[in-house]
């Protein structure tokens, strides 16, 4: 049994982590690790960066092809996709789906939460995109939190 089947929380060993260079460009991190019958992420990607053999396969991102556009973030029914982009040596932008109220505004200071829902640092909201009812929020956090932060508390 995988650890996440007991806890509901992934560890970095369960996820493919991109290289420094790929992260600088900004790429999609897909935290969907089980074979479930679902494929909208692969179907919507404009550059075909997500590959899936059939509808039950695990989606795999080609980090070199991915442009970090974020289209897959808002379509994913599992809210399992994040775009991570490092901006300089100390900061990173994390784009995540958010389905709660209040909807944050650009410039808001919010709490950064990890996969366990624990506060792991501070974040600043840099972009808010409303596509349908899933709001897609981009926050700026410390670079070392880039692969940790997966939620915010407004």
């Amino acid at each position: 049994m995988n650890g996440y089947e007991k806890t509901g929380v992934l560890s970095l060993n369960d996820i493919r982590v991109p290289s420094e260079n790929q992260l600088r460009k900004g790429v999609a991190i897909i935290e969907c690790v089980q074979e479930i019958p679902c494929n909208p992420c692969a179907a919507i990607c404009p550059v075909n960066a997500i590959s899936m053999k059939d509808i039950n396969s695990i989606p795999i991102v080609d980090f070199d092809k991915c442009t970090g556009c974020g289209k897959c973030v808002s379509i994913c029914p599992g809210l399992a996709i994040f775009v991570v982009k490092t901006v300089d040596n100390s900061k990173a932008l994390v784009t995540l789906p958010y389905e709660f109220l209040p909807i944050p505004k650009t410039g808001d200071k919010v709490k950064a939460l990890n996969r366990w829902g624990e506060i792991c640092g501070d974040a600043e909201v840099v972009r808010v995109n409303m596509l349908g009812k899933t709001t897609v929020v981009t926050i700026r956090v410390d670079k070392k939190l880039a692969m940790e932060v997966r939620n915010i508390r407004v």
């Binding site: 509901g8 690790v33 019958p37 494929n39 909208p40 179907a43 994913c76 029914p77 399992a80």
Partner: protein
């Protein structure tokens, strides 16, 4: 208790309506059910059990249990969870006894006779698709649902659906329901009858020597009921499922709800079930409803799951975990306590034989306990007709043995959706389509029927081919095996 702002839903509340509960004035909104309006005004005890007079509250929210039976305008045993409120209505709690129904309810109205080619019982995703598919083939269809709106379980599913993009994945259940409702109203050949419960089904009606089936249904009007005598050549049963109960002390206290009931209260009527919830079951339903509770502004203390692992999709669990809700695997509920409503619960760890480990009891302070411990297919009407049923654990209980066109052991009688084995809305829709097209094809309608049928079968095969499809797949394999063993000639299937 009323939700005013919600991240996904807008509650377009109708006009205010005043009615009476035990002679006290209560307020509600047009279009909502009696049980929901009472809940929103703080009334938790809806009835008392017959023998021990234990208080009972809202449980299933879809008219399938008996917790909400009340006397409404003198009529006893009204299912208040599916009965809309109206001005000056008089609602009373029944304290023991079952009351007496006066014949005037029926006698005042002449029975209505319906005669159609195909009748679909149940207007959830499976039934809606069955009716649409059959009508698009050219058949004439009557769709009957006991609720005052179509949509079944879909009308409360606010989360985005999985599946393929072509099959509406990424859309929310409520959006899919709305799309299908629009089609039901625009596709010619569908006659929709709402607020009508099918209560009896008869096989081989030979009154006129024909091969027609006969159903008896009761249609509820504001001022009484009407009997419907329904004749048809083909029937599709898409009656859905009932939520399972779990045995523990205090499980009948008001405040213990089925997960679907909670979904109905908060997502259809915009009423919070309580302030703090203990969720029992970490399958997809438990995980999804927990997340929706958070969206409705309700605290979720924790989710307990008796198995050693989370059985729902990881992505659903992850959404909940990153909001800070803990999931305790190998844990179960030991008891619920409270005088006339839930005031808390005791949870306990279980060993590998699922026996409670003493000394691991923990108190959970909550006013709501939500049970997400599975569903049981509704097959009573099918059994009444004499359709062969079998106990298939993988399908959720007794199900009608059926072939690949969803036809049962009786010629011309079809099943689809949860009623044919517990699965998902996505597969219910495909099965409904399959049943609808097959029923129409057996009557000679053919607008590319064969192609549609093979497309549906292929879609079902793909859906069930992953690891999460294994249980329903095994269930369906057993059903297919049993059907073949019956040795019945599958009429109409050879050319399909």
């Amino acid at each position: 208790m009323r939700i005013t702002r919600h991240p996904i839903l807008e509650f377009d509340r109708g006009r205010k309506i005043l009615f009476y509960f035990n002679d006290k004035k209560v307020e509600g909104f047009e279009g909502e059910s009696i049980a929901s309006a009472l809940h929103a005004s703080g009334v938790r005890v809806l009835s008392y059990s017959l023998r021990y007079h234990r208080p009972r509250g809202f449980f299933c929210g879809i008219g399938k249990c008996s917790s909400c039976f009340m006397t409404v305008d003198g009529v006893p045993n009204v299912r208040t969870c599916i009965t809309p409120i109206r001005e000056n209505m008089r609602v009373r709690r029944q304290d023991g006894g079952v009351g007496e129904l006066s014949d005037k309810r029926f006698a005042a109205r002449k029975k209505m006779v319906v005669d159609d080619e195909i009748v679909v019982v149940g207007g959830g995703p499976a039934g809606m698709m069955a009716a649409l598919a059959a009508a698009k083939q050219g058949a004439s269809v009557t769709l009957i649902d006991e609720n005052h709106r179509v949509g079944g379980q879909l009308i409360k599913q606010t989360h985005k659906f999985f599946g393929s993009l072509e099959e509406k994945a990424g859309k929310r259940g409520i959006e899919i329901a709305e799309e299908l409702m629009k089609q039901i109203n625009s596709v010619p050949g569908i006659h929709l009858i709402l607020s009508t419960t099918v209560v009896g089904c008869y096989n081989n009606n030979t009154e006129d020597g024909g091969d027609r089936y006969r159903l008896v249904a009761v249609r509820r009007f504001m001022d009484g009921d009407q009997l419907l005598d329904v004749f048809c050549k083909r029937i599709v049963f898409a009656c859905g499922a009932m939520e399972n109960m779990l045995a523990f002390p205090g499980n009948d206290l008001p405040g213990v709800y089925g997960a679907g009931g909670v979904q109905t209260l908060m997502n259809v009527y915009g009423v919070r079930p309580g302030d703090r919830v203990l969720m029992v079951g970490a399958g997809n339903v438990g995980l999804i409803v927990s997340y929706q509770l958070l969206q409705a502004g309700v605290e979720v203390d924790r989710v307990v799951e008796v198995l050693p692992r989370i059985t729902g999709y990881h992505v659903h669990a992850a959404k909940l975990r990153r909001c800070g809700v803990p999931i305790y695997t190998s844990h179960s509920i030991k008891e619920a306590y409270g005088s006339d409503r839930v005031e808390g619960a005791v949870v306990v760890e279980v060993d590998k034989n699922y026996a409670p480990v003493s000394g691991t009891e923990e108190n959970v302070s909550c006013d709501t306990i939500c049970l997400a411990v599975g569903l049981t297919p509704s097959v009573r009407l099918l059994e009444q007709m004499g359709v062969k049923t079998e106990f298939i654990p993988e399908a959720g209980g007794y199900v009608a043995v059926h072939d690949q066109s969803m036809q049962t052991s009786l010629n011309g009688v079809y099943v689809a959706g949860d009623a044919s084995g517990i699965e998902e809305a996505s597969t219910a829709m495909i099965e409904g389509q399959l049943a609808g097209v097959s029923a129409a094809a057996s009557l000679g309608y053919d607008r590319g029927a064969n192609e549609l049928i093979s497309r549906c079968r292929n879609a079902l095969r793909i859906f069930r081919s992953g690891p999460f499809g294994e249980i329903p797949r095994r269930g369906k394999e057993k059903i297919a095996y049993l059907f073949d063993k019956m040795g019945k000639k599958i009429w109409g299937d050879s050319e399909l």
